[in-house]
Symmetry: C4
């Protein structure tokens, strides 16, 4: 198998972009000069730390999803490469749109930008799964079809959820933020608690 | 085979530089303070987002070309290492020259700088392909000679196209920008749509 | 074995975050404009260089501990992934809390922030070792139980030490800083000088 | 062989730090605001571009040396890890000391800082080679002893050359800069032109 058709370097590039985006969050959200280091001013800065933690976990979710998808992809082609670069283009924007959202109180524009960014990240991510699994194009031919279907549905629901959140911002930005937080918490809880059972028992074709 | 003669760490270094350059584009092109987060101001900032997307895709093109070349290179030597460092030296300048180009309206100096940067990136990239394939120096001896010739020609045409663009800037900077955009769009379209057929059918000697 | 269940990409992401955090220390602690480059002003800036070196070594310690843990972990699951992302969330804060601590004289708030950051980094790190080794969940079944126990104890002592340091800051911040430095020096000395004997002779089950 | 004793993650961390240091050079040496993008102002900024290129090539030299050393190292231990972290501690300072040196005219303090930084990078780098090859501690037992000796000598000469450069700065900073440039040019020329013959013909024990 030619190196060109492997996925090793796609993983290295993606991990690099995520590592930098995660570290840039600190610079964007908690500039060094923003606190004098007294206990009171540090405690008063808790909304910044909260925004940082949320932004970090969202990046963590997308990284975990990418890793999980590429755990099943065996080959690459130019279309996968370009879906992946499109994915990274919007991942690199997350620290920016998270910082805009971190301004208090968040404006409707900030919520729309953030939600649109999340949709723009989700679409090429889901697109890679749809493309790679279509006719077992880039995955093992014996990949469990229930796993393929289940994830296809999940990847279609994620941008839908964010679209609803963007729509809700025209009623109340607090509602949008609530929905976004709920989706993040729900994903982490379900993937850490449920997926081990689900994949391990009846969905995964590959071994542990 | 000694680790020293492999290409693994060249790939890690290159992926790291690209990951950082891609993420720095956001900082250079869309500083956090540049928008108050209202819908109107975000929409008004669209030229910045456009410049960001273009800069990102150009970095994506050069990354994809590097990955594609090194998919065929089997060994490394010091000359390859230094051509590669020269390549990175100019890749790391791309966020800078893209930011200069992003100033509206773009001056002739900005176009000349940008075009020269692209030529300076293309030459060592093409140089690596010419050097590695000459006498099958660093590639598999059975690499399809048509693939070698085809890419050699392509790598000679890229800097030529940018040189024409730089020349056009003395007529009109808009013409130069048009040519640069056309080259990027043409590359992505042709590589995603045509290369699968081309390489898959009759040019590649290696498997899928 | 499925790629998804390996630990390769966890390592790449972690190494990327550490590489950036290490390099950001320079930007946070020694801004270019902070010295005019005369010998006298450079020598006068020694506390900044000292703070930089300390911060770098602490990042080095956590990196070495992570690498050492993952040298024994053979598989991954979602819980490990999320403990790891939590670990990175606090690692990325280290340059920030080190910079706050670097302000002279360090306030109690700075010491509490720094110590809390260290505790917050240590807990998920130790958590990964406890989780992975519990019932040989993610490690080789023949891993020496003495090595497992020894490290479990060590990972419980680290956050305890930092908690004592945070408590001491209410007596004297100098005492806290002394304890933190002592812990770092002790770790590096003991790991470089003693661990080769300890692991090599009777604790490691795996080969050299 | 345990993963812990391999050198894979040392390479990833080192490549990450170099990738970031190389990219930070642009930010330190050529801030976006420093030029208005007219042809005249860009040409007038050539000393900044020259300083950038020199800084990049020096980082390239140290990266190539590290890669070359680790091409022969087969195992790792804690002492190698800590020599490596010490090496990175000073590598991460290179963009800073290069930026100080880039101020025109360079002061004696800047030359002393730069030279000292180079010495501080060279010592742990050479230390790794001495340590790893002593009694074939971490290298293959059949590594050509002439290669070991030749490189030991080279790694002892590098810090000596920089020490001479630092000393010369008390006569004339221009002399120091001349020596530093000469050393860089000589290294790149000799490694690219001569090493292929030398290693290939009679020094390397490992295959191509």
């Amino acid at each position: 198998v030619s190196v060109e058709s492997g996925t090793g370097r796609i993983g290295t590039l993606v991990d690099g972009v995520f590592a930098i985006a995660m570290t840039l969050l600190v610079l964007e959200l908690i500039p060094s000069g923003s606190t004098e280091g007294s206990l009171a001013s540090l405690i008063g800065a808790w909304p910044k730390f909260y925004a940082y933690a949320m932004g970090f976990l969202v990046l963590g979710i997308f990284w975990a999803l990418h890793r999980s998808i590429f755990g099943h992809i065996r080959r690459s082609d130019e279309i996968l490469v370009w879906l992946n670069i499109l994915f990274l283009l919007f991942v690199a924007l997350i620290p920016f749109s998270t910082a805009i959202l971190g301004q208090r109180p968040p404006s409707r524009g900030a919520v729309v930008l953030y939600g649109s960014n999340m949709i723009a990240v989700s679409l090429p991510l889901g697109g890679m799964w749809w493309y790679a699994t279509g006719g077992s194009r880039l995955v093992a031919p014996d990949l469990d079809p229930r796993l393929v279907r289940h994830r296809r549905m999940a990847f279609a629901l994620v941008p839908l959820g964010f679209a609803v959140g963007v729509g809700l911002s025209f009623v109340s930005t607090a509602l949008s933020l609530g929905l976004f937080s709920l989706m993040a918490v729900f994903y982490i809880a379900s993937s850490a608690l449920l997926r081990r059972y689900r994949d391990g028992e009846h969905l995964t074709g590959s071994g542990p």
